[in-house]
Structures are given as structure tokens and as C-alpha cells.
Symmetry: C2
Subunit: 199 residues, 2 copies
């Protein structure tokens, strides 16, 4: 690139691989890095390198973890009876941030997407069934995304788990808090009416 | 952070140090990195580490460079007679991208800002005067930002360079291309009128 030395160009090229970061943002970030403390740049680089060395997949819940089993699976204060099933590790973090859940988790690492060639064997469903087989789990809360794939995955899990005597529930769909009925899309409003609760 | 393993938390913390990247964006980027190819993550980390090892400050123009002297200073096709003075290396890249300049550059690495304790000795002004002293330079184009500090720096440089027989010019200020007279701020419109050119 014109007027940009090669080492900087390399950083810009690597940064543009990140989602939502175009060439302009990447250039701004790269120039910022040339002005920041050596410690900060090395801190980021080392944190990135450590990511692959120190990050495990929990052998119980298949979540990303700093150790195996993960913090959530090894916490004795959490209930073994309820398991929240999510698509990705990022979803787990979101549910955990809400503070409304004190059971265990299971990360599917994707959703059923037959058109993209993703079948049940590509997800961590076998691991979930094994956990159910251990007999402690009484309820699965399926918190996959409210998309076609997420819904299909939820239905598939319900069909597998119900015959094993496990209650399967789906997180509620409806208007987001602070939302506006006037501007809600039809599908959301439909779900909100369908899922109404007596006051 | 809740539900986020320590190695990931570390990457998030380092990313939030970058300008314009808050916790939410950093979290999204970090989770993306856990899903990307090992090569990509290492590529970024290594590019960052190389930044400090392979990036030089050109001993002639004080720009960031992949070697010393930089590409611009060692290009024999560029004119030695005109020097474009900019605040930062990023400004140099912007002027270079415009494609409208084939002379040399000089990077001040800042602007005069007496209130922040930045005086002439903190900028690369001595280096510029030494270059003028070599006798090849006929014109300085001062492309500092159109801010109070940038203007003050431009005036200061003009005062130093003019007595040495060098023409000092300032880049034009006015309406940006594609701009709108109706919505232009007063200062810009004032400069645009003041700097009008006969057609």
C-alpha cells in the first residue's frame, strides 16, 4: 500500500480478516499500535498466542474453558438437574451474564443445517445424550437461536430427550424488553401472542 | 467475566485497549478468533510482534519505514525540491494515497501544543532544518491538520524556513468534495471564501 511500510501492511492485512474490520479501521488500529507502549502490543500478541495453547474444550459440556472440566461443570453450587443447551460458547457467556441460570450448560458447537451439510453427528449431541444417560438431568432448556436452524435443532433435541424422561423446554420468544409493539416484526409479534402468560 | 474462560478474557482485555473497540466488540472478535484457523490467529500475533522488530524510523524524513532510509527517501524518481510536512505517519500514507505528490516527506511526529507541554524540541523540526540546510529543498508544503495546533505549527515552520530562502505553502482549506454549502460549518465556509480561486 502507498506510503505504508511492509510490517505495518502485514498487521493491516491480518486485522482485516476479523469480522467488521475493514481496511480503514485496520489501518487506524495499526497506526495506533505503532504509537502504543511496546508492552501493550506484546500483551495482545501473547494473549492471542496463548489462546490456542491455554483454551480447552470441556469434556463434559463442550464449552470453551481455561481447564478441563470447565468452571461451570466443576462448580458444586450449580444444579445438575437442569442443563441449558446453547449453540456456541458465546451464547453460554450471554446466558451466564444474565445471571438468571444456576444449572449446567451444554454447547452444541453449531446447529443442524442440512443444506450446509451439518447433520446431528457434526454437533455435540452424542455427548449430551451420554450426560442424560447418567440419570441426573431432569430438564433441558434449549436456548438455540430463534432461527430456522435453531428451531429445527431444538425440535430434534426434544424428540431425542423426551423419551428418556427429560422435560425439554424452549426459551421464550417475544418482544425484547424496551421494544415497541408498533415496530415489531410479524414473526416476533406472532410468537409474543402465542406465548402470552396469564398475569 | 461470567462464562468466559481466562485466556479468552485476556484477549478481550487487550483488544479493548484499541481505539473504538469496546467490550462488546472485543468479545465478538475474541470468540471469532476461537473459531478461526490456527494460522490466522498466529499470523496476527506474529505480525504484531514483528511490528516492533521490523519497523524503523527513517533517519531522513522520520517516517515509519520497513528499512532505513525509507522507500520514499530512497526513490530516485521523487523530486528532492519539494517536501510535504505532515504530523504523523498516517497522514503521510493519506497524502501518498491521493497520488498527487511526487516529492519527499517529513514527519513531525506531533504538533506544537504548549498547553500539553509539547514544544519545538519535542518534534522532528531540527531534522527538517538540517535537510533544508543541505540546500536542495525549494518548497515546503505544510500539510498539518487544520486545527489550532496544526495551524500554529505551520506558522512556526514558515517563520523558520522562509529566511532560508524556502517557499512555504499550506494545503488548501475549504469545502470537502461532495460536501454541501448549506451544512458547512462557519470556519470551513470562511476559509473556502478566503481561499477562492479565479476560474
Amino acid at each position: 500500500m502507498a506510503g505504508i511500510p511492509v510490517p505495518l501492511e502485514r498487521v493491516i492485512k491480518e486485522l482485516t480478516k476479523l469480522p467488521g474490520i475493514g481496511e480503514k479501521t485496520a489501518t487506524r488500529l495499526a497506526f495506533h499500535l505503532t504509537r502504543s507502549q511496546r508492552n501493550d502490543v506484546e500483551g495482545l500478541a501473547n494473549a492471542l498466542l496463548a489462546l490456542r495453547e491455554e483454551l480447552y474444550t470441556c469434556s463434559i459440556c463442550c464449552a470453551l474453558a481455561g481447564g478441563d472440566p470447565c468452571e461451570m461443570c466443576s462448580d458444586p453450587r450449580r444444579s445438575d438437574e437442569v442443563v441449558c443447551v446453547v449453540e456456541e460458547a458465546a451464547d453460554l457467556a450471554a446466558v451466564e451474564r444474565s445471571g438468571g441460570f444456576r444449572g449446567r450448560y451444554h454447547v452444541l458447537q453449531g446447529t443442524l443445517a442440512p443444506l450446509d451439510g451439518v447433520g446431528p453427528d457434526d454437533l455435540r449431541i452424542t455427548e449430551l445424550m451420554r450426560r442424560i444417560g447418567e440419570g441426573k438431568i431432569r430438564e433441558l432448556i434449549v436456548a438455540t437461536n430463534p432461527t430456522a436452524e435453531g428451531e429445527a435443532t431444538a425440535l430434534y433435541l426434544a424428540k431425542l430427550a423426551k423419551p428418556l424422561g427429560v422435560t425439554v423446554s424452549r426459551i421464550a420468544h417475544g418482544l425484547p424488553m424496551g421494544g415497541d409493539v408498533e415496530y415489531a416484526d410479524l414473526a416476533t409479534l406472532g410468537k409474543a401472542l402465542e406465548g402470552r402468560r396469564q398475569m
